[in-house]
Amino acid sequence: MIDFFHAYHNVIDLCLLNSVLAFGCFLLLGVNLFSLATGGLMAVGAYLSIWLTMQQGWSFAPALAAAVAAASLAAFGLGSLVLRLRGDYFTMATLAFTEVIRIIALNWDSATGGALGVFGIPKLTETWQLVLLLALVIYLVWAVRRSAIGERMRAVAADELAVSTAGHDVARFKLALFTASGAIAGLGGGLAAHLNMFVAPGDFGFLRSVDTVIAPVLGGAWNIAGPVIGATILTVLPEALRFSAQMREILIGVAMLGAVLFLPAGLVSLPTVWRRRVAS
């Protein structure tokens, strides 16, 4: 067990971190919002926390708190502008945000190190912190889903118009959720920077956003275990296939496609599907 942990603790850390991040998107998928803002919001958190710890001599906890605050604020601002867009227009606007942030990071050399990135970031993120945070996030999401807020979320997902006709402020409700997901992304960004000890603008682009939102979809967008399963698979698979750089892309693609085609409710439904297959 200990040996296993030592051999794979990098991968385990990444699984934990990516699971935390996936919950940010999971919250939004619950009300039918497919957001690609994660990369941009992570970047806000990551660069701020690096700057605070490396340039200002802050310790880790307050730097992370500042990262969360900044990313929440950014999400609040972005959300109040783009949440009135419907469906794919919303997705595209969040993508535009992420790309604008990435390009700013690419060009603002003095703060971000430009395309070369920032090296020598102190490693402050520990595995136990990630475990604790993931547990906290899972508990919070679980509690929220069981509460009146969760009921409201399901109602908004089922029929937004009906909910707003009933006199509820759907816009404000969505904005609150988007801000919460921004907090998670900012936290994840700060943790990621102090885990990898290196960041570059490419870490926070389109692909990062896509991977984060794919995790819950793949794992199961309506099951609380979905984000963890999806994020773990998406993190472990590339590592496991490291023996072949080119086959890796192909096999990940095949695995993703297979999951989408044969497990429409996500990987969490695998046992059910399997049992049904055996039974028939």
Binding site: Y89, A96, I103, I252, M256, L257, V260
Partner: protein, 293 residues
Amino acid sequence: MLLQQLVNGLSLGAVYAVFAIGFTLVFGVMNVLNLSQGAVFMWGAYVGLEVVRKLALPLPLAILAAAGAAGLLGVLSEVLVFRPLQRRGAHRWMGMVGSLALARILIGLAQEIFGTQVVRYPDNALAGAAVELFGARLQLLQIVAIGAALAMVIALAALLRFTNLGRAIRTVAFSETVARLVGVPVDRVRLATFFVSGALAGGAGVLWSLLFQSVSPFMGDGILLKGLTVLILGGLGNVLGALVGGLLLGLVEVASVVAVGSGYRDAVGFGLVLLILLTRPTGLFATRETKRA
């Protein structure tokens, strides 16, 4: 100087437009976002390159071959991803994720077959030629690219307006249910639409590779983002909007390079998208609800 920049912007924009029109056509007809379009574009570029290199065929034939092969890849994305998902009534996210998975497979295959090195089309007479016009030296290639892009767009417009297939496509775009009721073979129309969409992406791939002298397995990512930008600029599912949006994006990008340097070139388009969405929440032109395809 101004003329020079105008041609630079228009040739860039023409490639964006061809790519985005294929993109928006599938969106307008089937209401799906096919995110493997960038990988199809890349494959078009490689097929064109192989045809020029190995078979020594002239450029127009290479474009045709690339468009044909890329069209078949478009068909593949319908058969492999979108049709089974639609049959099952899967959530539209599944289509996006499935098409991204297909893109990964296509990119991986390209790395496996062609390697990861950036390669270029062999030099030919067209690449070096230039014309003098009002004191500006314009590359002949740029003008050919603009012409080829216009030809593809006109061919598509004619197809949509004057042929039975075009009428069928427009009916399906209006409503699949209505199309089935009046006896349109919806499945075949969907296949044809994906073929046309892929073919346009493949044609754009060859034009792009000629203009920028570089082909690589990863060239699709950038154009995918540009395609999405144009999609918003022009209004989702609006073919004419995509043409205008593409040209506009090319011009704006070139103008921004002149004005503020090349660093922020790629941000200008997305900034424009944010700005437009905030003032006109359904894009610059007619909405999908009022006018599709």
